[in-house]
Amino acid sequence: MLLDDRYAALTSGSTHGCPECGVSLRPRVGTDVQAVEPVLESLRGPQQRAYLSRVFTDGEIADSGLADGAELLVAAQSLAARFAAKEAVVKVLRPAADTPRPPWKDIEVRREPSGEPRLQLHGAAARHAASAGLTSWTCSLSHDAGVAVAVVAALESPHVPTPSHDPREVHHDNR
């Protein structure tokens, strides 16, 4: 393949093809940055209980070490990264201006035993993703120098799952 052809393939926006029909799957990426200090202030302040219960799942709070007596700063770094991930997911979902965003706890980032983050969508977030044909969600988190960052990606498929959710039973949406 000529170098020009390779460059054209890389920049076409179509890097994956559906194994069923070969239709291209387009990636969507979302990024968000969250300063740790505001999260730390929320954990120290009078709103701590409401803040945690409204924004983070029990699993995310557990992963932050907050319940195990971890340093508040360490917990804040973990939660700041997760908050950034939740915002990054919303950017991938691209809800319409007059559409409510998914509740924060419908977007959950858990820590695998390996330490890697695992992104899970529930409720309204999952429904929005399904209706938009977004699958293969993945995320990467990091924090340093008082800032947490999250990058989230998903693949947009033209296929709309049937109610049986059998991946072999799909129909094409006119996307």
């Binding site: 968000d32 505001p38 409401a50 007059d98």
Partner: protein, 89 residues
Amino acid sequence: MTTDDSLHEQIRGVLAQYGKLPGDVASLGADDDLFRAGLTSHSSVNVMLGLEDAFDVEFPDAMLQRSTFESIAAMAAALSSLLDHAGVS
């Protein structure tokens, strides 16, 4: 002071406490875009929680959109709706 003025002043108080806006909240117009004025996605969470605590309401999922918190007037309209629904004048 009208009821609306009072509501706006209470919202300004919550904004001043939790919004972390770089400028003076008192100088903001009721329809000024608060996100352009420095409100972030995280600080909007704290503002929401502050309003819920101040007015003893809970914003339902359907109101969790940027437009609900984008201005003092927008928050006042949302709160009025919630308070009316709760039977509080």
